[in-house]
């Protein structure tokens, strides 16, 4: 017993660089954008924070079990492993290049060592943008090779990177790991100590710890804190190849489970274990079925008002909860699907009553997007461009396979399939418009316990797949676009449009929570935001980051006038045309602003070093 204890090498005690090297085959590893490249955070020094030369992210290219691989290791010791512009860009750039490898016949897989609290609040909107890029590249790479996430602790994996974990092909966890969306301190700040006591560590681990997540089926493999075991689990995952269906595509089981539960009082962790297990084990159902009958009531909000206006008050689809409004209505000469999350004062789930994105909202949004895309698959009664006909009645499974096949034949644009990749089939891929007015994700014990990070991953998965398949996806920001809600529903859009209005705010976290986490006052944060554009909440600062395609002035942002709606429709139609004229289906159109130049610099340098 003692000798095995002495022989065991702790994985957790290794730093990021050592963890990555422990997993790669000996002598196969090459670090890219190492600290000596000195591409540092442009934003931290002006806040009096010392910038680490690798920005807390280590990138290694090499081989694992003889396969080409890229390992991205987040350094949990630097700024809590939070994602800043540069560190986030390193991960995204490496995954993007791994995708290109695969398109050229090199089967590079991805491994993410996730030790992160999510967005670095000192870089807020650029951290959020980088995480959106990571999500996009992860979903693309995942079509070719497995992407394996490893959460070892002690920091765990939260925030937008918790969503990334939910997108991985396989997840390996230890007992010390935690996986969730909102950190305990944030939940305590937003929902009160009765909702979650952030100092009650045993409870927190029982709710979101590695053992619980593995028992729930939200993680695939459990490893002791032992380098040999962690590597063995990793090899096992890679040898399995791609899963038949990714966890983030398994909507119907969760939809049914959530429809049948009592959110109040919040179940114990032991019960939440079996609830999620059952949801994941459930057989896929037809996408149109299973939803609870939803009332058509919804509380007032900007999002609801704009959605109603843009669709001429067309009726919302049945089969969705009151918080998820899905309306099929014309946009120009074609039908589009309009989606919004709206408040519901009487909702069964108390934590979503103000329009927050919670469990049902996540899984139903994913359903709404996937259902729309299923109808446009070849074999769904339209002229086939030669892609394999797919059984569109098969629900989530069929969509995943079918869209992958279609996207892969369309390739990367002009170079694949001849011409600009445009065909009769492409013109029939109808748009999706997400009307964005979301104060945040839901902050709750139930939400964390039942895997809110996974529900939001389902939305990201569906939205990214829609975009990659060729559906024009537009986000119209009419109110708040904060944190996980924005990341899930808005950030995978081809184009983002925003109103120029004080009520339009984009950020990674509400001010009070952000102040608590960064140990500053709200006033100090507001002062900093004036000097550090990515930290600002207002839309003009956000536009300066290059994230928006267009902005528009509205006469009445709360209750749009006839002129406002007409102007918005024109912009939406122009956006659809702009997307269809663009050969790229990725998020690269967001790069190029002066305030985001480090993100481009990282990509250039990574490209230079990749093929050496």
């Amino acid at each position: 017993m003692t000798s095995s204890l002495l022989q065991r090498q702790s994985f957790i005690e290794l730093d990021a660089r050592a963890r990555a090297l422990a997993l790669l085959d000996a002598h196969s590893a090459r670090e890219l954008l190492d600290p000596f490249d000195r591409i540092k955070s442009p934003w931290l020094p002006r806040q009096g924070i010392v910038a680490q030369a690798d920005d807390g992210v280590v990138v290694f290219k090499g081989r694992i079990d003889g396969r080409p691989a890229v390992v991205l290791a987040i350094d949990g010791a630097y700024q809590g492993g939070s994602m800043g512009e540069v560190g986030g860009a390193k991960i995204a750039a490496a995954l993007e290049l791994a995708v290109k490898d695969n398109l050229h016949g090199m089967p590079t897989c991805g491994v993410l060592l996730l030790e992160t609290g999510g967005v670095r609040l000192q870089e807020a909107n650029l951290g959020l943008a980088a995480i959106a890029d990571i999500h996009a590249a992860l979903v693309e790479l995942r079509r070719h090779q497995p992407v394996v996430g490893i959460i070892a602790g002690p920091v765990g994996c939260y925030g937008g990177m918790g969503i990334a974990a939910g997108l991985c092909s396989y997840l390996i966890v230890t007992r010390e790991a935690r996986l969730g969306l909102n950190g305990p301190a944030v939940i305590e700040q937003e929902a009160g100590i009765d909702e979650l006591d952030s100092h009650d560590k045993p409870f927190i681990w029982s709710l979101t710890g590695g053992e619980q997540r593995h028992a729930q089926g939200l993680a695939d493999e459990f490893a002791a804190d032992d380098v040999v075991q962690v590597r063995e689990r990793l090899l096992g995952c890679l040898r399995r190849g791609l899963p038949f269906i990714h966890r983030s595509q398994q909507c119907s089981g969760f939809v049914r489970m959530l429809a049948g539960i009592e959110p109040v009082p919040v179940p114990e962790p032991a019960e939440m274990r079996s609830m999620v297990r059952a949801a994941l084990g459930a057989a896929p159902a037809r996408s149109g079925a299973a939803a609870p009958s939803a009332s058509q009531r919804s509380s007032a909000s900007r999002g609801a008002a704009w959605l109603a206006g843009l669709t001429d008050n067309a009726p919302a689809l049945a089969g969705f909860p009151a918080t998820v409004r899905v309306v099929d209505a014309p946009l120009g000469n074609e039908q589009a699907r309009y989606i919004a999350v709206v408040p519901d004062e009487a909702n069964r789930f108390p934590r979503v009553r103000n329009g927050e994105m919670g469990l049902e909202e996540g899984w139903h949004l994913a359903r709404a997007i996937r259902q729309w895309c299923e109808r446009d698959l070849p074999g769904a009664g339209q002229a086939s461009g030669g892609a394999t006909p797919v059984d569109t009645g098969g629900g989530a499974t069929a969509v995943g396979v079918g869209k992958d096949a279609m996207a892969m034949s369309a390739g990367e644009g002009p170079t694949a399939g001849g011409g600009a990749g445009k065909s009769a089939t492409d013109a029939a891929l109808r748009p999706i418009v997400a009307v964005l007015d979301v104060p945040s994700q839901a902050y709750g014990r139930l939400e964390e316990g039942l895997g809110l990070h996974q529900a939001l991953a389902a939305v990201v998965d569906a939205a990214a797949q829609a975009r990659l398949a060729g559906h024009p996806f537009i986000g119209l920001i009419v109110g708040k676009a904060i944190s996980g809600g924005f990341l899930a529903l808005g950030c995978q859009a081809n184009r983002l449009i925003a109103l120029r209005d004080p009520g339009v705010q984009v950020h990674a976290m509400g001010k009070a929570s952000a102040a608590r986490i960064t140990q500053r006052t709200v006033e100090q944060l507001e002062t900093l935001a004036a000097a550090v554009p990515p930290m600002a909440y207002d839309i003009d600062s956000y536009a300066g980051l290059g994230m928006l395609w267009q902005t528009m002035q509205a006469r009445n942002a709360d209750q749009p006038t006839v002129e406002d709606l007409a102007a918005a429709r024109v912009l939406l139609c122009e956006a659809v045309a702009d997307i269809r004229a663009d050969a790229r289906r990725d998020l690269s159109s967001r790069l190029g602003a002066e305030n985001r130049s480090a993100s481009s610099r990282v990509r250039e340098r990574m490209r230079e070093l990749w093929g050496e």
Binding site: P35, F36, G48, I49, V50, A51, Q52, A53, A77
Partner: protein
């Protein structure tokens, strides 16, 4: 935040590159690369007003051993003199082993 620079005479040149430490509270990260001639050190630190302490620590370290010429960049987050010395020695050791 402050940036402070130092220069010391050296014997020979460092063989390789090395990284030691992390920019966490009470710690520092040392980046060491080979150089010719003298050892040049540039420190970025979150703690202001301690130039004299840095000077004392580095004077003592470079007087105690015949260290090869290197370019050293330090990103410091409030490390104590003991930790500073530890990390620099660690970096030299790794560079020598390279």
């Amino acid at each position: 935040m402050e940036t402070i620079s130092f220069s010391y005479a050296a014997q020979g040149a460092a063989k390789g590159r090395a990284i030691a430490g992390v920019v966490a509270s009470g710690d520092l990260q040392v980046l060491l690369e080979p150089a010719a001639g003298r050892t040049e050190i540039r420190i970025t630190t979150s703690v202001d007003g301690k130039a004299a302490v840095w000077s004392a620590v580095l004077d003592r370290l470079f007087a105690s051993a015949a260290l090869p010429a290197a370019r050293i960049d330090i990103d410091d987050c409030g490390a104590t003199p003991g930790v500073v010395r530890l990390r620099i020695e660690q970096a030299f050791e790794e560079a020598g082993a390279a």
